[in-house]
């Protein structure tokens, strides 16, 4: 059914740690309800914070929210609305760092939660890399399935923009 070559993207890594069903839907461009207020808020925060840094930089098929140099070290930042999904955000950023490394660029990452005035450093290490590789394989396994995983009620459903799609 899917003819285009499927790439694991940062967005899919992000969803993978929240809900595998979202991975499948997103891979087919079945995007969530754009009227959901959380989506708007996330977009607003992404667009209106860190105005002094370089923003929305694309490398190949990844897109980095914020880019800066600190003491000769390249720092890529990922802006998020809330740290509720910190694990997802952490792995997404680690995935970017690995993609960059594979293209010969060494960088460190920083998760940015402007609303909470919180930052979290992300640095690649062997264990993290192994985890990303495992996740990438599993993401491909999910998206090559014919049907999405059945909806399962989890804590994230409460604010999820797919909730009405899944539970209608």
């Amino acid at each position: 059914m899917l003819e285009n070559d499927l790439n694991v993207t940062g967005t899919l890594v992000w969803y993978y740690y929240i809900c595998p069903r979202e991975v499948w839907l997103m891979a087919r461009n079945i995007t969530p309800d754009q009227d959901n207020p959380n989506i708007d808020l996330g977009r607003f925060i992404g667009q209106n914070t860190y105005q002094r840094d370089k923003r929305e930089i694309s490398f190949g098929h990844i897109k980095v929210d914020v880019l800066r140099k600190e003491k000769g070290q390249l720092v890529i930042g990922e802006v998020k609305k809330s740290s509720k999904y910190e694990k997802s955000a952490f792995m997404q950023l680690a995935f970017y760092l690995l993609e960059l490394r594979e293209n010969g660029i060494e960088a460190v990452g920083e998760l940015l939660f402007p609303k909470e005035k919180k930052r979290v450093k992300v640095e690649l290490n062997n264990e993290l890399i192994a985890n990303i590789e495992k996740a990438k394989k599993d993401i491909l396994r999910i998206i090559y399935q014919d049907a999405p995983q059945e909806p399962k009620k989890i804590v994230f459903c409460r604010n999820c923009a797919y909730a009405e799609f899944c539970w209608s």
Binding site: N29, D33, E150, E164
Partner: protein, 330 residues
């Protein structure tokens, strides 16, 4: 929830910085663009390309209606949600006769069940509708046996015809006799109201389709000809009895619309502006009322039900869950 904007007066709709303004002889009215779901243009509205650019960017649809309140068309901004996967699935279910029939049948079943529900409601309130209900129930049995879309359409038409005759028993108002269903032009007041309400619900459903990954040109019950929107007509069938017809009954029952709200013109019967306003105000109020959806564990408005119905259809197309139309439970 974002609002529908109804424009009845004559004037110019403009972009003003990052908002909308409607300028009439009486003055300017600023309209919050972020809070606007769609624009329903009934009056003589003029606008220019920069307005169209602006509302395209904001993903707002403009539905326009003629002087008599009939749906004329929609300014439909470029598709913003694209899923090749979903379009292929939709086309697949359209092209495969059995798959198409299954969905078309579900729409007719939904319409039938909601019609029956409306009749039962009034029957329980003392209207003599028992005979009509059993007649319609008999016809409803035949839905499963239909093997052709044309048979389904005919059966639905048949059910609706009987149903409309129940209107006289429900409404019981000499000024608003049903007689027969007439369109373009409707021949009596009641037909004007039905056409007006249906026009609005079709356009609202189109706005909801725009917010999904479905293609409004590929309908299952109504024939697709790729030039006009049909999917919205299909899904709206389910909601017409419980939204529009019930609204009409209540407007007439409360004398909120009377024969004085109409005028005869050379080309046909016209619902005057005041009547149209009352109609849409009450419709909006109805669409904002919420009901609890068990599976979802939330309250959703009637208007939101339109979208949920499309989501259910998407899941059917994906092969995930067989589509079951919404049926009112009261």
């Amino acid at each position: 929830m974002k609002k529908s904007l109804y424009v009845f007066s004559e004037g110019e709709l403009k972009r003003k910085d990052n908002t909308l303004v409607f300028e009439t002889q009486a003055g300017k009215r600023y309209l919050p663009v972020e809070d606007t779901k769609e624009i329903m243009a009934f009056g003589e509205v003029s606008f220019n390309k920069s307005l169209l650019e602006f509302i395209s960017q904001k993903e707002i649809l403009i539905h326009y209606f003629n002087h008599f309140g009939y749906y004329m068309g929609t300014f439909y901004p470029r598709e913003h949600l694209n899923s090749g996967y979903m379009i292929l699935k939709q086309a697949e279910h359209y092209q495969h006769p059995e798959k198409r029939l299954l969905i078309a049948r579900a729409f007719v079943k939904g319409a039938y069940r909601n019609i029956r529900q409306v009749l039962k409601y009034y029957h329980n309130r003392g209207r003599e509708l028992g005979e009509l209900i059993s007649l319609i129930e008999n016809l409803g049995q035949g839905i499963e046996d239909c093997q052709e879309i044309s048979q389904l359409m005919a059966l639905e038409g048949h059910i609706r015809e009987h149903y409309y005759h129940g209107f006289d028993i429900i409404i019981n108002n000499r000024d608003f006799r049903f007689q027969e269903r007439t369109r373009r032009p409707p021949k009596n007041f009641l037909n004007v109201l039905i056409s007006f309400g249906n026009s609005i619900i079709y356009s609202m459903m189109l706005s909801e389709v725009y917010k999904t990954h479905l293609d409004p040109r590929i309908g299952f019950l109504h024939a697709t000809n790729f030039r006009r929107f049909t999917l919205n007509l299909d899904v709206a069938e389910i909601f017409k009895p419980i939204i529009i017809d019930r609204l009409i009954f209540s407007l007439l029952d409360k004398n909120m619309i009377t024969k004085d709200d109409f005028e005869h013109q050379v080309e046909g019967l016209l619902l005057k502006e005041k009547g149209k306003r009352v109609f849409v105000e009450e419709l909006d109020r109805k669409l904002e009322t919420t009901i609890n959806i068990k599976s979802l564990g939330r309250n959703v408005s009637y208007r939101r039900l339109f979208r949920l119905e499309l989501y259910k259809l998407e899941k059917h197309l994906m092969g995930e869950k067989v589509y079951e139309p919404f049926v009112a439970s009261w």
